[in-house]
Subunit: 341 residues, 2 copies
DNA sequence: ATGAAAGCGCTAACAT
DNA sequence: ATGTTAGCGCTTTCAT
């Protein structure tokens, strides 16, 4: 059953059928009715491939992200897939997923696959896709010559590349300030991989310390694994080392919750003896006990903004090349109340 | 740049170019070299839409799942998206995501959209997509007349429908037995929505109770929300009611962790005064304190099996219409050791 | 081993 | 308002 069959059955040309299908207003009400009727009772559905061939688009967007099943992946990026799909579908775009492992192996190949599939645009989710070695970002710049590229919390200058950024700096600045102003003395800053995002967070921590007259010591800036067992050992080693701290600012809720677990297991009282701030406002931050104070990076806004810009861009409306979305601190029970200080 | 350009540039027919692209062995080594060379230096990429039109397939699979950003969604299904994408891509299939909200609104429409896109098969992730009212499943049966449908933990009889099932019955049977054999007296069974999956779990609980000579009381079978705050109130109301329990078997890690939080906040010692078993082996079960004993439903195996069957089916190899994958109990720290009983 | 040509089903420019 | 027709770029059948 194709458009010619419908054309014959309804006694009009294929052009008219096409017009009806695509909602053109240059069709008389009478023929429209007739055609619609024939379509309905024949169960005809336009062939998407033929349409794609003619229009050179099937309205699909390639989403490059880390595997949501990868234990090492950043869990606050998983909901982003949902936000993006929802917003894209609202605008009648399909989302094709391209999941990479955390080691980024195959990034270039995946981008090539998207281009081969003739996606209308590419969305890249996560700051780690932008690597410090410029050579590894060349494939993104190249892709942008074919289709617009939108980065969710990724920072890369280039033609046809659009960056949606979390305010990572302010994220940690707020977290650190919260601890300082609730009388925490020695604040540890914990990162995992020092991606671009985490670098900006570190700068926020340092700035907040400086702005409040605290001295920053490299001893208090540490790398800690996501992994539950490894992070436990990490906190044990800090104790052996004898490092004194009564506050922790982290780049990820996972680490914050690990710190919490360690403290609980050692009888350290939270937040009296130790205050902790996470990052991400992930599901972990709500299901732990005590509930975690954390900074929400507003990934939903990032995703909504990205899709808005994408849609407008594809409609030919010029879009700004970057947007920074503000974070917000969510006070829960792993930090001291400001009244009690 | 299309196949005709390549044809001209390399001095052979488009047929031969097509043969080279598709790896036919009926091409002389010499011409193959020549054509490949031209393709390489021209940067030519076959047009996927044209190919799709000719073959009537673009090797895409539609995945119907709940929105991973939906707070009410079942969090052990999120990794399934990753497993499926990984396995499908291994077999050179693209995954198009169709995320539904937990209320299932638009299910029928989404399935129609997939069919309109001419996907090669449909994968449905989650038992709740199969509803108790048969009328709401008709769209799935209808879809199966066009393309094979694979259900991840969904149970529906029908032509061209393939079911991968968790052993939900045994899941709760094991959990309940574990509590009984570690001397727990009064075991609460908590579900959230009583989906098909949860019904089977409830049956497992009842069977384990009966098999060990325990009497089952309806008072001990309760519905509890996923939501952190609501579930807290739920446990408070149980206390007001005066219900005595020293063990909980749940249908979801979320509920188990909520129970844990409540217990911690009330000074109830875990597992001595209260033993808890979750379900899902989700990220929550590892990041809580004490770490949660839980039943792993092996979603990864379910997904791998589904994709294997899908690929073979599409290659024309007959596949069994259902597979049940066994669960396994993961003992951690919210249940008593078997030696100490 | 290679090539000519028909066909896949739609859209859009152009004509009426 | 409606129709004719030429693409879109590939695969495949059938010759040679």
């Amino acid at each position: 059953m194709n458009i010619y069959d419908i054309s014959k059955l309804s006694g009009v040309s294929v052009t008219t059928v096409s017009r009806v299908i695509n909602g053109s207003d240059k069709v008389s009400e009478k023929t429209r009715k007739k055609v619609l009727e024939v379509i309905k009772e024949s169960g005809y559905t336009p062939n998407a491939f033929a349409r794609g061939l003619g229009l050179n688009s099937m309205r699909t967007i390639g989403i490059l992200c880390v595997d949501p099943a990868d234990a090492n992946s950043c869990i606050n990026l998983t909901p982003a897939i949902g936000y993006l799909e929802r917003e894209l579908r609202r605008n009648d775009y399909d989302s094709i997923l391209y999941c990479l492992e955390y080691n980024m192996r195959g990034k270039e190949h995946y981008i090539k696959m998207m281009l081969d599939r003739r996606v209308d645009a590419i969305i890249i989710v996560g700051s780690f896709f932008i690597e410090s070695n410029p050579k590894n970002n060349q494939c993104i710049l190249d892709a942008a010559r074919s289709v617009p590229v939108f980065l969710i919390n990724g920072n890369l200058e280039g033609d046809n590349i659009y960056c949606m950024l979390c305010d990572d700096f302010n994220n940690s600045y707020m977290a650190t300030t919260e601890l300082i102003t609730t009388n925490v003395k020695n604040i540890l800053f914990l990162y995992t991989t020092l991606s671009e995002s985490e670098k900006r967070k570190m700068e926020g921590y340092i700035a907040a310390m400086n702005d409040h007259g605290r001295t920053v010591s490299q001893d208090y800036i540490r790398c800690c694994s996501h992994d539950v067992k490894e992070s436990y050992r990490f906190f044990e080693s800090l104790a052996e080392e004898g490092l004194q701290y009564d506050g922790i600012v982290t780049c990820e809720d996972t680490i914050a919750v690990s710190a919490l677990k360690y403290a609980l297991s050692k009888g350290i009282s939270i937040p009296e003896q130790l205050s902790i701030v996470g990052s991400g406002n992930t599901i972990l931050s709500q299901y732990c006990y005590p509930e975690l104070t954390t900074v929400d990076g507003n990934y939903e806004s990032l995703c909504v903004t990205a899709v808005n810009m994408l849609v407008r861009h594809l409609e030919g409306i010029p879009a700004p090349s970057r947007a920074v979305i503000s974070s917000r601190l969510i006070r829960r029970n792993t930090t001291k109340s400001r009244n009690k200080e």
